[in-house]
Amino acid sequence: MLGMKKSRTIVQTLSNSADASRAPADATEIGRTFAGIGVSPGRIIGPVLLMPAAVREPAVGERLAEGTSSEEASAALRTAAKAVQTDLTDRSISASGAGREVLEATALMANDPMLVKAAVKLITNGASPERAIWDAAASVAEMLHNLGGYMAERATDVLDVRGRIVAELRGVPAPGIPYSDTPFILVAEDLAPADTATLDPAKVIALVTSSGGPQSHTAIIARALGLPAVVAAVGVGALADGTRIFVDGAAGTILVDPGADEVALAKAWETSSAALAVFDGTGRLKDGHLVPLLSNVGGARDADKAAAAGAEGVGLLRTEFCFLERDTEPSIAEQVEAYRGVFDAFPGKKVVVRTLDAGADKPLPFLTDASEPNPALGVRGYRTDFTSPGVLERQLSAIAQAAEGTEAHVWVMAPMISTAEEAEHFASLCSAAGLATPGVMVEVPSAALTAASILEHVDFVSLGTNDLTQYAMAADRQLGPLAALNTPWQPAVLQLVRLTVNGSHDEGHDKPVGVCGEAAADPALAVVLVGLGVATLSMTARALSAVAAVLASVTLPEAQQLAKLALTAHSATDARRLVREKLPILNTLGL
């Protein structure tokens, strides 16, 4: 941020020629900066495209405009529905995989005879076309919702289509990620998991949101795609489409109409990110202390990518990929096939399988109760075994079968363990299934505090820092206003990491403590975690090289020193700043 003011005069001269056509109202923003939280490194310059706000509901009981006949209004509605269908169909052609299927299905819904007929009927009774489609779609969505399961999930698609039709009738941009032929920086309030289906990483070059925190979906999407991203940047919603901005995804800053300094920084990032794309496959500190760097994966395709990126194994296999989008439990045979695909990518290496982690933000119709008042504190993760016994045992048996005949070293761990008794029960289930290396995740503070007792029953623990932070700080991961609380840099969260490592020492067999949360992907925090005694780090494959480069710049005593600094800091901001100041390599690499 410092030094940006200095370049402002240069910025103005440059931008005059480039943006002569810009409205004068934007000119007041030249050189303006926004500060947020950097969640995915990278320095880049590009034009802004705003994600349109959600479509406003037409007034209840809104009538046909005077002078408009119901025939004209019905024709307008049909035209709008057809236009939305055409738009979605066109976009489905350029999409791929799951995104394509979602678009094809919603395209059909947009011009659905049942929906359009119901709306036309309401128009004939005097309703405005906007209100008519609003109410007609609401009835359809309710009907689907009442059918439950898979159908209930499709209710969201109907409401999405409704918003698009109303936007079309009003002549305003369609809700959702804007479509453009040329690359742009997406500015939004926040992104939902559903937006990932339509986010084209070839077009979106950076993400900036006014809301959301370091663990929000925007942050996770950005890291997975390797896009520079800043969240919780208050005020960015006021930027105009086409405005050129500079985004620094490490510092968490945005500058409107960047100048020569920022152009140089963006150029330097291009070079260093290319160099950073290489990881030699061995994570180690400057003094040779080994820190195996593993990858978090969600399926065989991910696993192949991670192996190609040099990952020393899989520290977290999310098995939800087998279960999500389904209304019934997958068969053991289906599961065996899916897991084997991952094991085959890592012969001779460790693959840590996390058993099904449903509930909270990952509901499953056959397993979790969507009506819980407080799902983050509800029946989720390992706890679904209380209410739906059998699913976990069948999954463990599938994992054991998949492990047979592969060369991968298969470890298994349960999510959302709170007590040593739960760990003991899980270990007995693993042993009954013939799985030799059971472990548990430490996400609930109680598990960190009782790590020694827990480790008497299992062979390893893995810290899930996203949930551990949310529970330690009592701050919902998705809430923008709580973003400052919701960072693993919080000294309290680091204390819980330390206590977990201490618990392992106390237990006496030096059983490994790993980290598989987003914290491991932050190169500066990775140093702190290693300094605290964490043995392995598991992260999105894209982060491997950056983390490896920074780890290689410090010795173990230095990392321990930095860990002490962070632990005793007065705030998360101080902890981060103090550690980053001592790691000059971060600035050199633009991380």
Partner: protein, 92 residues
């Protein structure tokens, strides 16, 4: 009035991708086709060109549905639709 019955072959039942393929095929026909669960009155039959109607029908794998249509070429049209329903579209 021509009438055919078909047993849903797709493992996921008649929704998601299989429903989309079926609806697209109906949409290409020049005649109107209705669909109902076997045993339900013809008056309750739904528009087979509507993905939302098809989804609300809730036909699962192994369920029998009745297709009805009138006019020229109705028999051939229904035969082709039966073929689609009796293929496991989800497997392709």
């Amino acid at each position: 009035m021509s009438e055919r019955t078909a047993v849903i072959a797709s493992r996921v039942g008649l929704h998601a991708r299989p429903a989309g393929i079926f609806v697209a095929a109906v949409g290409e026909l020049p005649i109107e086709v209705t669909i109902a669960m076997a045993g339900e009155p013809a008056d309750d039959a739904m528009d087979a060109s509507s993905i939302l109607s098809i989804m609300s029908l809730g036909a699962s794998n192994g369920d029998t549905v009745v297709l009805r249509a009138e006019g020229d070429g109705a028999d051939e049209a229904l035969d082709s639709l039966v073929k689609i329903l009796e293929t496991d579209l989800d497997a392709e």
